[in-house]
Amino acid sequence: MSLKLPGSFKKPIPGQFLMVRIKGRNEPFLGRPFSVYSFAQDGRGVYVEILYKIVGKGTMCLSGQKKGALLEIHGPYGTPFDMDKYPRNVILVSGGIGVAPVTYLASQYRHYLPAAPHLEMVCYHGVTGSRRLLGLERLKEFCSDVFISSDDGTVGYHGSVVEMFEKDVLSYNPEDTMIYACGPRPMLKKLAGLGEVPRFRCQALLEEHMACGLGACLGCAIRVRDGEGRGAYRRVCTDGPVFNIQDIEWDY
């Protein structure tokens, strides 16, 4: 879905998201967070694309909006991905609709870092089946390789994206590699559980239900280990949505 926004809309940094609401309606009541998939601007305004999967009432209503419909958009919100100034290996691990933020991240690495001649960017992307292969064209422009896996084996590697990545992980050098991960919670948990991953810098984009999106309601808490290794709650909307994958507590 492509959104036209006023020129005053700040350029989002990869990992940031928008809160989207259908204007004037009390149902769905709360805004829904969506990652930025692409950004462009011209003299008349700003154009942001989001990519979404219909999973419930909010996304269903969004899909029912006609072209030209008015939406209420707030943002960009959230603490973005840490981007290396002189990146060498960038590994994107994405599942399903997680492709949206990693694509925007990849585009920004490409556009803003032409000064990084050694940049090698690859993506491991998992889907449930071949019919779910969406939005990959752009990613392919930006990455030297896009490896696909599918749960049902209808396309690419038969199995989970984490299993596919696990077979390659030893070929990367933790010193100069950054891993960015985005996808369903079970996928991220599995990734965090790989024996090799703690040796890498690895950032994961998490999802949680949100109300305000800007840090005020404390509704979007997830549990992490704080500086002293104790359990604490953090807000996905402002402390995240990007977290160091090592800090996340997966079960509570």
Binding site: R21, E208, L214, L218, C220
Partner: protein
């Protein structure tokens, strides 16, 4: 547009509702805090509280459920890290406080007494009172009286007591609070509610039940304000589902001297200022200069319920 709430002078009758505006800073990019009637901060307790495990929120028809669990960094961190930011602004700061025992309420009121940058206290008496048997202070007129008296005796600041709607007789609780010496009453806090995931057969909220807020509860809030303004003589602050100026005007006409905007901030960060502008427009259109001439002008045709 100025109103006087138990000695506290507000530029206009629109404040933020506790827990829905963070500590002010979160909304500063969207709202000029100097335009607000007052900022009521997220509830503060003596000790830090981690809050409830997620999932903490769920959308409902025209509203939402929350079970944040009164997460807050504790009063010391509040004073050190949160208050200084707000003190830069020319806006009254009201600190929402709560405790699990009457003693805790008194102690936190003492800690906050004579602190520059704090203009009033709002006492949230909807929390379960663990010591006295697990019932909320706000459900019992006598307990409400005691908490109020205790807090009043510990502070020179204006004291607003915030009532819970989960009671049978809100007038009785309001009377208790007035007798305890409160300078004003605010209502309502959230209605207790629940919601179930029929696929997983679990409650949506980890805490099972949560507080219902938003437009869905506005009729209940307005009715309770109406009942309470008919019973007490201290100012009443209306809260519950206010999302636009028309909603706020319903409360003011019914007799609330001020209003608080809660959940609406989440769906529209500029809600408070838009409401202030809307009230101004309404006054101009109706050729009124003083908002106080509007407050409590509801004409019920002699009928009293």
């Amino acid at each position: 547009m100025a109103v006087d709430i138990g000695g506290l002078k507000l530029r206009n009758p629109v404040m933020t509702a506790s827990g829905t505006f963070g500590y002010g800073k979160e909304y500063a990019p969207y709202v000029d805090l100097n335009l607000l009637g007052a900022v009521v901060v997220k509830g503060v307790s003596l000790q830090p509280r981690k809050g409830n495990p997620p999932r903490r929120i769920m959308e409902t028809p025209s509203g939402m459920l929350n079970a944040i669990g009164l997460e807050n960094p504790g009063v010391d961190v509040f004073l050190r890290d949160k208050l200084p930011y707000l003190s830069q602004f020319d806006v009254p700061v009201i600190v929402n406080i709560f405790g699990e025992t009457i003693d805790e309420y008194r102690r936190i009121a003492e800690v906050l007494n004579n602190r520059p940058g704090i203009h009033g206290l709002e006492v949230n008496i909807s929390c379960p009172n663990v010591k006295e048997g697990g019932m909320a202070f706000g459900s019992d007129p006598d307990m409400a009286f005691k908490v109020t008296r205790e807090v009043k005796s510990a502070t020179g600041l204006p004291v607003i007591v915030k009532l819970t709607p989960n009671v049978g007789d809100i007038q009785a609780v309001a009377e208790g609070v007035e007798k305890g010496g409160a300078d004003a009453i605010s209502l309502i806090n959230t209605l207790l509610g629940m919601s179930v995931d029929i696929e997983k057969k679990i409650p949506h909220l980890k805490n099972i039940v949560g507080g219902l807020s938003g437009p869905a509860i506005k009729p209940v809030a307005l009715r309770m304000v109406w009942e309470v303004v008919g019973r007490v003589s201290i100012p009443v602050i209306g809260i519950g589902g206010i999302t636009n100026a028309a909603d706020a005007l319903e409360f003011l006409i019914t007799g609330a001297k001020a209003v608080q905007v809660g959940t609406a901030n989440f769906i529209n960060p500029k809600a408070t200022v838009e409401i202030i502008e809307g009230i101004e427009r309404y006054l101009r259109k109706n050729k009124m200069n003083d908002i106080n001439d509007l407050i409590g002008t509801l004409n019920t045709g002699g009928n009293v319920c």
